[in-house]
Symmetry: C2
Subunit: 247 residues, 2 copies
């Protein structure tokens, strides 16, 4: 089995460790004080950043907010011919950082697994969406094939196209959902099917942190435009109604 | 069978005619030139407004926009002891108009059937929601019992409570849905369950007219407040994110 180094043992990193250990010889690291315990809980070996970054395949599973820093840390440690993969939920910024900071002698693939421990625990991996963006070299094909071998629904696309879609899929849903949650919309007896969709959207994002919300709105370069266009549209509709216009 | 006069043979009026003719001796009228044909298509007798308004039970099924005028027209025609019922999708305004315009010698019940020909054709009447608001006299109990005998899910409440709930259930969903439709949100390959809710909301309201939208936003006294609060909330969230605040 190839040796795979995993940087980051947060919620998604631990899921990655548990999934990848059947297919690779996984060593993992994390800056958290309890990193060795997390590695052990996920059934993989704990190692230093040096050792992890020196593997044939290096998977970076840290929050986008600290990703640039982590790429800078592993840049002098990665071996010629290695493959570096990120799993961030936006793609334009991580791709820019990897191209800028990682030495020319490594290949690069950017990915976005559109799932987390909850969805995997509930439904299993098969059918879940996995986005693969070619960045440097041809090994994105192996990454896509590996995803398919796990039963994932793989989409190969560019970082720009990914973020453009996600501006709708993530930024807009979280803006609307969080606004409704903050408004405290009531679970009305008179709910219609349309209103049920709003209530269920609230249920899906009710427990997300403000930090996640801010990340979704700021780390995707296309998000502000879509979010602002939605608010402007709603405002314009209310103005049309108030002015008695009929268009 | 009691004689029931139906004022209005639009989409909902025709559905009402087809439903009520098995339980009442229905005569119907409408200002449209093809009113006799509409009555005949619904299987009920066409009659003048005088004859219709003179029935033991009078159901007013006209758009809220012309309802005040219609109450004024039938006011001198209704018989002592008659029961007048409206079926508008808002309740505060029709109730105010009925109390103001209809003579003290008639009883009044306001209703809102939360369904139309499409939902009935698809699912049948049983389980559909029917709101009954007592206005004048005790016959709301008979109206509620009749709704239950058709299998409808009957809610007895006040006009104010109805409109307060509907400000969320209708005004908010139509504001969000219409904004998304106008924005042209794409059916993305990377759609998540949250985004699916927005796409399905768009599907449900895509074909509604601007007139219906304006009516929902203006004929419910509680709608502007809820709609504005939503837009203000979304705007405030985007400002918080832009300013880098974390609350």
């Amino acid at each position: 089995m190839k040796r795979l180094g995993l940087v980051g043992l947060g919620q998604f990193g631990q899921l990655a460790a548990r999934t990848l250990k059947d297919h690779f010889d996984v060593v993992a690291t994390d800056a958290a004080p309890d990193a060795p315990a997390r590695a052990s809980a996920a059934g993989v070996a704990y190692a230093s950043l040096e050792e992890v970054a020196g593997c044939e395949i290096v998977v970076v599973a840290v929050p986008v907010a600290v990703m640039r820093e982590v790429f800078g840390q592993i840049a002098p440690l990665v071996k010629p011919g290695a493959l570096v993969i990120d799993v961030g939920s936006v793609k334009v910024l991580p791709v820019t950082w990897m191209q800028e900071l990682l030495p020319a002698h490594v290949e690069i693939v950017a990915t976005h697994p559109l799932f987390g421990p909850q969805s995997v625990a509930r439904d299993g991996l098969p059918g879940l969406r996995f986005v693969v963006c070619p960045v440097r070299g041809e090994r994105f094909e192996k990454v896509a094939a590996f995803g398919r071998s796990l039963g994932l629904a793989v989409t190969v696309t560019t970082a720009e196209e990914h973020d453009r879609e996600m501006a709708y899929v993530q930024a807009l849903t979280h803006l609307i959902g969080r606004s409704l949650v903050n408004l405290g919309i009531p679970d009305e007896e008179l709910a219609t099917p349309s209103y049920q969709h709003l209530l269920e959207l609230c249920g899906l994002i009710r427990n997300d942190t403000f930090e996640l919300f801010a990340a979704i709105q700021t780390q995707n370069p296309y998000a502000p435009e879509v979010a602002k266009a939605f608010v402007a549209q709603a405002q314009s509709l209310l103005e049309q109604v108030a002015s008695g216009k009929t268009a």
